[in-house]
């Protein structure tokens, strides 16, 4: 029997997820022995036409990382979906929207205006912007359409499983590969990680007080951190209580607070709202003015609580002032 074919692809992402695959180190040799890598443009020479030439469902599994922002990414997501039996959203961006999803605080116009005109590193030039069509002497050039809103993979095509994390921890990737090869995948739609909060596996759990009484939020560069004590007890905004475990508390072991990249546990619909709830409950203030003063320590609430999940949140994006007659066209 021929080896099952596997694909890897990236959309709006940083490349860190590809690193996570490489981080399997020598174990990747075992993977290559068991499967045939049939598409992985980052690491090997494949073209889109190679995938288009495959029959539908020819790929046993595709790991797709990155959020969906452009028309080209939509096309690739649809193509990979069609050619794959199992499609796995790999990493925070395809799972929840990720850091690129914070662009949902703006829209295409605001982003183009900034990036091609007002940003200090752009000289005041001729106002050139990327166009979807440019006519030159030799013919017409095309660029993908740039959407107003960043989407998760499952807001674009149907997704079978999710490998969370920024990037997914090597242990989870290894376990997922083992489950796929053994044909022992959980029911469709599952997140391939433990369904408990990070505090549960945190090495500092014993020092977490029964009742948190946060008197002031501090940022990591402002204090010398105790390497053993619960970070929340030290006044750091650690999102461990609201975040899915599975990373072996990697950041916390490096004396940095959890920023929530593995997303919510299974019963939570909106990560940011739940994380906010967990943190707000632990404040040691009962008067509105005191609470407000304490909250000033949360410098950027959306960037803190929705750092990896704004497109997957219930609000999805910043509310735009209504533009007459344009509503239907915006995506």
């Amino acid at each position: 029997m021929s080896k099952p074919k596997v694909g890897f692809y990236w959309c709006a992402s940083c490349g860190g997820c590809e690193e996570a695959v490489v981080d399997l180190a020598e174990e990747i040799l075992g993977v290559v022995e068991a499967v045939e890598i049939a598409f992985w443009p980052v690491a090997m020479d494949f073209k889109r036409a190679d995938v288009e030439a495959m029959r539908d469902g020819e790929l046993a599994v595709t790991f797709l990382n990155g959020a969906i922002r452009t028309s080209e990414q939509e096309e690739m997501a649809e193509l990979m979906r069609r050619k794959s039996q199992v499609l796995i959203a790999f990493g925070s961006c395809s799972h929840l929207g990720g850091v690129p999803g914070l662009a949902n605080l703006f829209d295409k116009e605001a982003i183009f205006e900034n990036d091609y005109r007002t940003v200090p590193s752009v000289a005041d030039g001729d106002g050139t912007r990327p166009l979807e069509e440019t006519k030159v002497r030799e013919g017409t050039l095309h660029l993908p359409a740039f959407r107003d809103t960043v989407r998760t993979l499952d807001q674009t095509v149907e997704v079978d499983y999710y490998l969370p994390g920024c990037p997914p921890p090597v242990r989870l990737v290894r376990e997922a590969l083992a489950a796929i090869l053994a044909g022992k995948l959980p029911p469709k739609g599952a997140v391939l990680a433990p369904d408990v909060a990070l505090c549960d596996e945190c090495p500092r759990k014993p020092s977490k007080p029964d009742k948190l009484l946060i008197k002031e939020f501090k940022r990591p560069h402002q204090i010398t951190l105790d390497p053993e004590e619960c970070l929340l007890a030290q006044g750091l905004l650690c999102l461990g209580p609201a975040t899915r475990s599975g990373c072996d508390a990697a950041c916390i072991s490096a004396n940095m607070p959890c920023t929530g990249c593995l997303g919510p546990t299974g019963r939570v619909r909106d990560y940011g709202a739940k994380a906010l709830s967990a943190i707000a409950s632990g404040l040691d203030a009962n008067v509105e003015e005191e609470i407000a003063a304490l909250m000033d320590g949360v410098v950027d609430p959306v960037g803190t609580f929705y750092r990896y999940s704004l497109p997957a949140s219930l609000m999805r994006r910043k509310v735009r002032p209504a533009v007459e007659g344009k509503e239907g066209e915006r995506t």
Binding site: A89, H95, L96, L105, D148, T149, R151, T152, D154, Q155, T156, V159, Y162, K188, G189, A190, V191, G263, P264, T265, G266, R267, V268, R269, D270, Y271, A273, K274, L276, S277, A280, S281, L283, A285, N286, V287, E288, I291, A292, M295, V298, D300, P301, V302, F305, Y306, S309, A312, S313, L314, M315, R316, R317, K318, V319, R320, E324, E327, R330, T331
Partner: protein, 173 residues
């Protein structure tokens, strides 16, 4: 948009308010307002919680994302919470949530927290009227229309799929 159109739209618009009232104070006060036959704006759909401390911020964003124009939260006065400190927790959450929502373009008037004791039926009347008026002035909360697939996925989520799919919401209205 001309002034007259704004006026006409504002008149026609009836804001939808989702109200979360605590069992021991504000819900009882709303009951009292009813028995005392006080009239007030009929825009709120009241949901009874045992305590304002039960208010998960997800309830608020969920209501807003599914078509509410505003969310009203009512709890016992500070110091009066039936469970000692649930209302303080509600206060902390709402203060932080409002900051978060402001960054997402949602006006402060759309989320309102009020302390209303069981005897303050008149206060329920006043707050309901005020909030309806504030929202009428603000106009409907217009969220971006989700792409067609959102509807399909929302239906899929309703069948009991896991979280990420469930995170997809249906259209705002």
């Amino acid at each position: 948009m001309s002034e007259t159109t704004v006026g006409a739209e504002t008149k026609a618009f009836q804001p939808r308010i989702v109200a979360f009232f605590c069992n021991w104070c504000t819900y009882t006060a709303a009951d009292l307002a009813g028995t005392a036959r006080m009239t007030h704006a009929p825009n709120a759909r009241v949901i009874r919680l045992m305590c304002s401390g039960r208010l998960d911020p997800q309830f608020v964003v969920s209501a807003l994302s599914r078509g509410a124009d505003g969310v009203l939260i009512g709890g016992c006065h500070p110091g009066d919470c039936h469970y000692q400190e649930g209302n303080y927790k509600a206060l902390r959450r709402v203060v932080l949530l409002k900051r978060l929502l402001a960054t997402l373009g949602i006006e402060g008037e759309r989320v309102r927290l009020e302390w209303i004791s069981a005897s303050e039926g008149d206060r329920v009347q006043r707050v309901m009227n005020e909030m309806a008026e504030d929202l009428r002035r603000l106009g409907p909360l217009r969220l971006s229309e989700p792409p067609a697939l959102f509807h399909a996925l929302a239906a899929h989520a309703a069948d009991g799929a896991d979280a990420p799919v469930a995170a997809v919401t249906e259209a705002a209205s």
